[in-house]
Assembly symmetry: C2
Homo-oligomer: 487 residues x 2
């Protein structure tokens, strides 16, 4: 199902260069690497098998982490009765304008309209009210893998779509401290996952009041920096305090026999992470996937010379099996209707971290020819001990990709205390700009209106009052906020 035909076509994959038009480059990569496609439903994408294989890696590796920290999965209904949405005042205000409404079921008009879940705090609140009676029932540590729908006006594959896939954790605790601890534990889990698996360095911190989740007491986020200097919110963790517990009457008998409201949290990451990976690592040849995330970590391309099917191919199969036995995800592409040159371009575009070329001469020398996707470095590797060599090489690529992305972020992070300088910087795409802020929503709103920059978060370590006044209003600053233009 390649978009390119077979049999010796042009190798050029027609990807717009990043420098020419980053947005166009992004869409080209998404479509040509067959990660996703447009669908006949406005704002909804189809996640194609290669894109979905990346999502499966994200799911599996995150799910392992959730389970290792004591969480279990469950599944709650897709539909939420309108009356439930209305129970938490801030929540309904935030979500009502962007939900899809089901008004008819089968042949009958519904007495009460249903919304398609944009998030599940409300329907889960009803169940927790039923399930939780005593402090012995706490904590409840449940996660859900699900689709959600938010009616969006402007959409872009993976980054913002009407329907998207995500996980949403919903936990209930006995005390405020435990809820806060959970909120931060998950934020740290997200950061570790983003950095170690996606090779995507993130800034972790607290969102401003105006950017927090509708209904939360505090929202924390991880923010990453894309190749065009715009920031991407990659995950959020909310301390919901007792807001939903009070709206849904989730009460328990405490150790002291008094009736108390639980303290809840919620947290999520979505298929948006795939967009983040594309824009963190990709280049003009297409995708570059970190080895821990790549559906195929290694692709083997046999070089067809002479009677290669009797000589080269069996060796390729032997090496494929060796690598598989070492736990490496490997694809052997022995399709002889495409040339090696076409395959090189194809798997480069698809971001496979390491390509092995094997021809008669390599076999003579008892070596394989290896090409790294990230640095494009090429070297001969001895067949002897190949699996161990490649395991080490994949680790090296993983580390190098994180390092490169971190260096990019550092070179695109600056600080200023002057609003003049700030506005000049924001005429371009400077990355993150650290500036003192007084904490007033008005300053935040004015800055956004004038420069398009928003406060991404107040990173840990930046919550104390700086020496300089608020960059906007000149009153005393309370924190140093990290600003950026964002997706």
């Amino acid at each position: 199902m390649s978009t390119q035909g077979k049999g010796g076509e042009a190798f050029v994959k027609d990807i717009t260069p990043q420098s020419e038009d980053f947005s166009r480059w992004y869409l080209d990569v998404v479509l040509k690497a067959e990660l996703a496609d447009y669908s006949p439903v406005k704002g909804c994408m189809v996640i194609r098998p290669y894109g979905y294989a990346i999502w499966e890696q994200i799911q599996r590796q995150l799910d392992d982490r959730f389970k290792a920290t004591g969480h279990v999965n469950a599944y709650f209904p897709l539909f939420i009765p309108e009356s439930l949405l209305l129970k938490e005042a801030e929540h309904v205000e935030g979500f009502a304008p962007q939900v899809a409404w089901v008004t008819k079921g089968g042949t009958e008009e519904l007495e009460e309209k249903l919304i398609v879940r944009p998030t599940s705090e409300t329907i889960i609140g009803v169940m927790y009210q039923k399930w939780i009676q005593s402090w012995r029932d706490l904590p409840v540590l449940i996660n859900q893998w699900a689709n959600v729908v938010r009616w969006e006006k402007v959409t872009r594959p993976f980054l913002r779509t009407t329907e998207f896939l995500w996980q949403e954790g919903h936990t209930a605790h006995e005390t405020a401290d435990e809820a806060q601890e959970e909120t931060l534990k998950i934020l740290a889990l997200y950061k570790e996952f983003a950095e170690n698996v996606l090779a995507m360095p993130v800034v972790d911190g607290q969102k401003s009041e105006s950017e927090k989740f509708a209904g939360a007491s505090k929202t924390y986020s991880i923010e990453s920096l894309m190749g065009d200097g715009r920031a991407l919110q990659a995950g959020t963790s909310h301390n919901l305090g007792q807001n939903f517990a009070k709206a849904f009457e989730i009460q328990f008998q405490g150790r002291d026999k008094t009736l108390q409201h639980v303290w809840t949290t919620s947290w999520g990451v979505s298929t948006r992470l795939i967009g983040g990976v594309i824009m963190t690592h990709g280049d003009d040849s297409g995708l570059i996937l970190p080895p821990k995330l790549a559906p195929w970590q290694v692709v083997i391309v046999p070089i067809p010379r002479g009677n290669w099917k009797e000589t080269v191919l069996p060796k390729c199969e032997e090496i494929r099996d060796q690598l598989r036995a070492a736990g490496i995800r490997v694809k052997l592409d022995a399709d002889d209707s495409n040339t090696p040159g076409w395959k090189f371009a194809e798997y480069e575009m698809r971001g496979v971290p390491l390509r092995l070329e094997i021809g008669p001469k390599d076999i003579e020398k008892s070596s394989v020819f290896a090409a790294r996707r990230d640095t494009r470095a090429k070297q001969a590797l001895p067949m002897d001990g190949l699996a161990q060599t490649i395991v080490a090489l994949l680790d090296e690529i993983q580390a190098a990709m994180l390092e490169r992305a971190r260096a990019f972020r550092e070179s695109h992070t600056s600080a200023t205390t002057s609003y003049d300088e700030f506005t000049r910087m924001m005429e371009g795409r400077p990355g993150f700009v650290q500036s003192p802020w007084c904490g007033a929503a008005q300053c935040e709103t004015d800055i956004k209106a004038e420069t398009q920059a928003t406060i991404r978060n107040i990173p840990f370590g930046f919550e104390q009052a700086p020496d300089a006044p608020c960059i906007k209003c000149g009153r005393p600053a309370t924190v140093t906020a990290w600003f950026a233009k964002a997706y």
Copy 2:
């Protein structure tokens, strides 16, 4: 989150005996074993963590089988524009009366109404039309794990719910033969999975015309027999012929350069399988799970005597770690707010295949006391080589459960050529009844109206004309159909 409070309550779990009311028994088990719960949305259930853990086992083990047979996963939109549903005449007739309609998105009425997918042939058809151009693009072997919605009047947890979780495979092929081969390959895969993992023997065969999928050329099913003598359709595999290819103009250039329509299939199993497992194996004490499916294959219950936390508990932890290292899914319940007796009843109800009790006397004798859930047989097992012993014992339980279910089915399968006898049998719940049938839909309809029995399928090996005439009309029979009252 146990429904029972802690601290020495009654052990009796208040499950209605099967013999008293099988339906009530089923609901009691679903609710008390915390597999699912009712939700505030009519017809939609909540799958609780223990039920979802069973679904995760089903997903993981089926997904491995799909991938081993060359299938890949993808994700298509939840919503389908009304115009797409209308394209295949039989399909729309079958599904239109039972879909949920989205008529409003955000604040605006939609120009074209959307349905929430009841199944995805139509939306996938549009994409295949776009993706498939040449015979080189075939076969397309895609599966989707998703939620679907069918507006049902009468619902029952797992067996029939408005929203349910399933997988739907959708494949496209170059020839009619290849599509038929795929249809039967998947049916065989379902049968192998049902029998080897769920320990649920199934009858595989072809559905009658009136029971086939709306839009299919042929539908095959696996049918299992529940403990009350009613049949359950446990999975279906459809050969769609060129019906959807023609409706959606899915064409390719063939090897002979002519433009041809592809041949498609679709196939699915759902969370209904969990209902099937409950009703195949369960007894008056609750659930009995086959070891290959059980989230916990073994539960260890320490017997609290003397200073057990210093003596018994460390031994229990050591054994838990040994079993885990051998790949066994094991839970150690060391919660001292519940008594051993309470735990015995609790894990029996939850169907854990094997319980190990470990107290000071067992440790003295260097053995553990093991109780099988399926036979309730109890025996001391030497600690020496315990992991291997238990691996073998779990295999033995798995095989015994399949054998027992098979024997039950055989003792509840009979044959008759007399319609009088047939109707008398169907006054009870006889299980499967094999009878000659002429192939006419009218006979099928009349039999259903008069006896509530439906043709479950025509099993392989029963498609040839029998010696006797049609049990209903007396004209020549063409096949031997398997009838049953069904869920």
